[in-house]
């Protein structure tokens, strides 16, 4: 196996581009893909200040490292979710990464800031853990982005993530969700800009990038992820990709090119990003009476979750795992 660029020995193959790379040229390839994505979707310009949501996993470390290498002014944001040992370990990985590279990191712990954690919120609100978790993270991301006056929030979603979500939404024709599956959501009605610079990289590539850059990330998964639909969609797409490399990229980028504009950017679904953005039925946004976030109801969905979960008797993560 030879590197496509220098013809030296290659360490990694990228089948959908029919290319192999040595370590240096693979790292360069990843950075070029991100740089191209940033321009293509108007995600960020030189000098922008970016708030990078980090979890301790490969994708968020890869995107943080790449944005740094491209010269952006970045700040990490870690949300302590209170998911038992997983959260303790992931927090440590994030702190080690930031300290080792001397990068600024903001930490918000749900338990110490809001007196709840994800397992407890899931139990008292009877939401699946990922739904309570997503709502909490989005609120903290938006709030910290506004507070620190950042130009955008960055998340580490990769090509496999986006293709799997699209697959699930198309399979069930969840047209309400499709419009928001853009890799860049502009700032709107008080909601900050959100960008996903890794959509041109597969998750095998983000993992390989971390290994070749010597980034120590948490390989273990969040215990709540086991057996979720997202994983079965990924497995289905991987079978297709195996037979026909490039299918995932064609699926997702074809959607962005030809279809996404047919769907509305806004929704009233409380489980979705920007759930409180104005819709045709309720176009007026006003500040949430409790936290001031933009919403089309009196109290935003996060504050409604907070009312029930904050101060509730903590529910251990094992109990939630058994349920779902």
């Amino acid at each position: 196996m030879k590197c496509k660029v220098c013809k030296g020995p290659a360490l990694i193959d990228v089948r959908r581009h029919n290319a192999n790379f040595c370590s240096d040229h693979f790292i360069r390839y990843c950075r070029e893909q991100v740089s191209k994505t940033l321009k293509e979707f108007d995600m960020a310009e030189p000098g922008d200040r970016l708030l990078v949501a980090v979890s301790g996993g490969k994708d968020s470390f890869a995107v943080w490292d790449i944005l740094e290498s491209l010269g952006f002014d970045t700040n990490g944001l870690y949300v302590g979710l209170g998911i038992g040992e997983y959260s303790d370990t992931s927090g440590q990985y994030v702190r080690d990464f930031a300290t080792g590279r001397n990068l600024p990191l903001t930490e918000i712990d749900l338990r110490s800031t809001y007196d709840y954690d994800v397992p407890t919120a899931s139990a008292v609100t009877r939401r699946v853990p990922c739904s309570a978790c997503g709502l909490s993270k989005r609120h903290v991301f938006d709030k910290e982005c506004r507070k620190g006056n950042f130009d955008a929030i960055v998340t580490g979603h990769n090509l496999d993530d986006e293709a799997a979500v699209l697959y699930g939404n198309v399979l069930r024709w969840q047209t309400d969700y499709l419009g928001r599956q853009r890799p860049m959501l502009p700032a709107l009605n008080g909601f900050p800009k959100k960008i996903k610079p890794l959509v041109r990289l597969s998750e095998r590539e983000t993992a390989a990038y971390c290994v070749l850059r010597g980034i120590d990330y948490l390989v273990e998964e969040c215990p709540m992820a086991a057996g979720n639909k997202h994983l079965s969609y990924k497995a289905a797409l991987n079978l297709i990709e195996e037979e026909s490399p490039g299918s995932k990229q064609a699926f997702y980028f074809g959607f962005l090119r030809d279809a996404v504009d047919r769907f509305d950017l806004t929704t009233s679904d409380p489980n979705q990003d920007r759930s409180d953005v104005a819709t045709e039925d309720s176009p007026i946004l006003s500040p949430c009476i409790e936290c001031g976030s933009p919403t089309n109801v009196e109290t935003c969905s996060f504050c409604r979750l907070l009312r029930r979960a904050s101060g509730a008797k903590p529910v251990p993560v094992e109990l939630i795992r058994k349920k779902y």
Binding site: S23, T206, A207, E221, N238
Partner: protein, 64 residues
């Protein structure tokens, strides 16, 4: 040779020398869903692994 597997972490002994492709076939793993790592770097698919090698086979699919 020793093979470290993840999620959950465990170790299995295999007979070497063996190519990476063969090793993954034996483990019934798809090459596009894992990375093979030795001494902190990647091992390409066409490489041979020695009898005394210690390698990690790391899954790359996340469910988050």
């Amino acid at each position: 040779m020793k093979v470290l597997l993840r999620n959950p972490s465990r170790e299995v002994d295999m007979n070497g020398p063996i190519s990476v492709v063969k090793l993954l076939n034996r483990l019934e793993m798809s090459r596009q869903e894992v990375l093979v790592i030795q001494n902190g770097t990647l091992v390409p698919g066409d490489a041979m692994l020695a009898e005394d090698a210690i390698v990690e086979v790391r899954p790359v699919i996340s469910g988050g």
